[in-house]
Symmetry: C2
Subunit: 250 residues, 2 copies
């Protein structure tokens, strides 16, 4: 996968101004560590729909999502596919110590990634515990998210699955834009109906039907196909079957 336009390389900024500075794998770094990271980093840009890497391909870099959204998916020989990761800004892609990609990584919106070649990054990791420590913390968070997701996939109804996905996106969106605690929540779905289906282990028809049903029942409002308004977040959480009773959004 080569870059389509060299403007991709012109994106450049100092780590100090980086929008994901305090959430990404570099969050814990001191000024001097940041400086060394700055020397080995480079940006890559992908357009919506582009594949970043194919499962099984050699992957000689790791990266943070700076802006946009990417997905990790697994595909069976007969074409059944399951999304196994949804990467939002500050999320980390790639595994230190592994040479090839375990999943397809696809940009679902225009995407900017902050990349590090694998070897220099691994070297830095062994020398600066701040990076290794933050990566462990992020990986544990991802494992928790994956386990929450397993409950959704294994035990929830189609309606609960949709409500769960909407609350996850609403929550992560709110935490990025730190205006939580409003009761009325508004966001754009970054996924097509098909991608939502791949996330939830459903077909796109069922996703569409359940979205219509939630709209009919007043749980959500839709403007166009992607713009979602949640008039009452606790109602949505209730529909999701989560025992968290509407309290915390962070």
């Amino acid at each position: 996968m080569t870059l389509l336009n060299d403007q991709s390389l012109s994106v450049s900024q100092s780590c100090g101004d980086c929008p994901i500075r305090h959430r990404a794998v570099c969050a814990r770094c001191e000024a001097d560590e940041l400086e060394r990271l700055e020397q080995i980093k480079y940006y890559r840009k992908f357009e919506a729909g582009q594949t970043v890497v194919w499962s099984g391909d050699k992957m000689d870099f790791v990266a943070s999502v700076v802006s946009g959204i990417a997905t990790l998916t697994q595909t069976m020989e007969d074409g059944r596919t399951q999304m196994v990761g949804l990467l939002l800004p500050s999320d980390f892609v790639g595994r230190p110590g592994r040479g090839s990609a375990a999943y397809d990584v696809v940009a679902t919106t225009d995407l900017v990634m902050c990349c590090f070649r694998k070897t220099p990054f691994e070297d830095m990791m062994t020398r600066t515990p701040h990076i290794a420590h933050r990566l462990l913390e992020m990986t544990l968070d991802e494992l928790d998210a994956a386990r929450e997701w397993m409950l959704v996939l294994g035990r929830k109804t189609a309606r609960e699955k949709i409500a769960s996905l909407l609350s996850i996106i609403a929550r992560r969106d709110a935490s990025l834009q730190q205006r939580a605690n409003e009761d009325r929540i508004v966001f754009d779905l970054p996924l097509t109906r098909e991608a939502m289906a791949d996330y939830l282990g459903l077909t796109l028809e069922t996703v569409s039907r359940q979205m219509s049903a939630l709209k009919r029942d007043g749980v959500i409002e839709l403007q166009g196909k992607r713009h979602v308004i949640v008039p009452d977040m606790s109602r949505l959480l209730e529909e999701a079957g989560d025992d968290t009773d509407g309290g915390i959004l962070a």
Copy 2:
């Protein structure tokens, strides 16, 4: 949850002889590090069926499974439950930096755990990168396993789910007893039909029916309800829908 018998505390051995010495969180430790670990470790024993901790309860220790099997499960208010982790010997329980359990932890067989109080363990972790590094590696492995599991939950048929679970257990069992590469694989199921159902997002009736179907079709043989013989591992993997073509067992 208190200990039922104080023989639990009499289990004691030097880390050097520990059966999980080279796979657990302490795998990378040098002799001196091991010695310090040895000072803060203690063993706990649980009987089959006992709950180790309840989700939400305070958890002031982390631990490695030494022998036996434990499960992590999540439960919805209405009782639907999903297993989100299957812990075999050498697996790690608990999250440094978190005070309470996120899941129910249950011993499904008699269980011995090597425990460390959270604070001393966290202290050691910051001082000995060998532990933090190994824990990162193990967490990344678990995340991969969780993602594989998500494909099973989201996209596989009941028959494929059962075949997948059997191959996972067969594989992990073989790697513990390092006699892989035999074509004929034999093991005991450490789970009831109900626990298998909770693992796979099925009902126990469906699990039972699919076990019978796989037996009828000669994919597996059963002696009693728990003892499983796999005459042809590649056949089982085929039934699981895995694109891995029967090659590697490690």
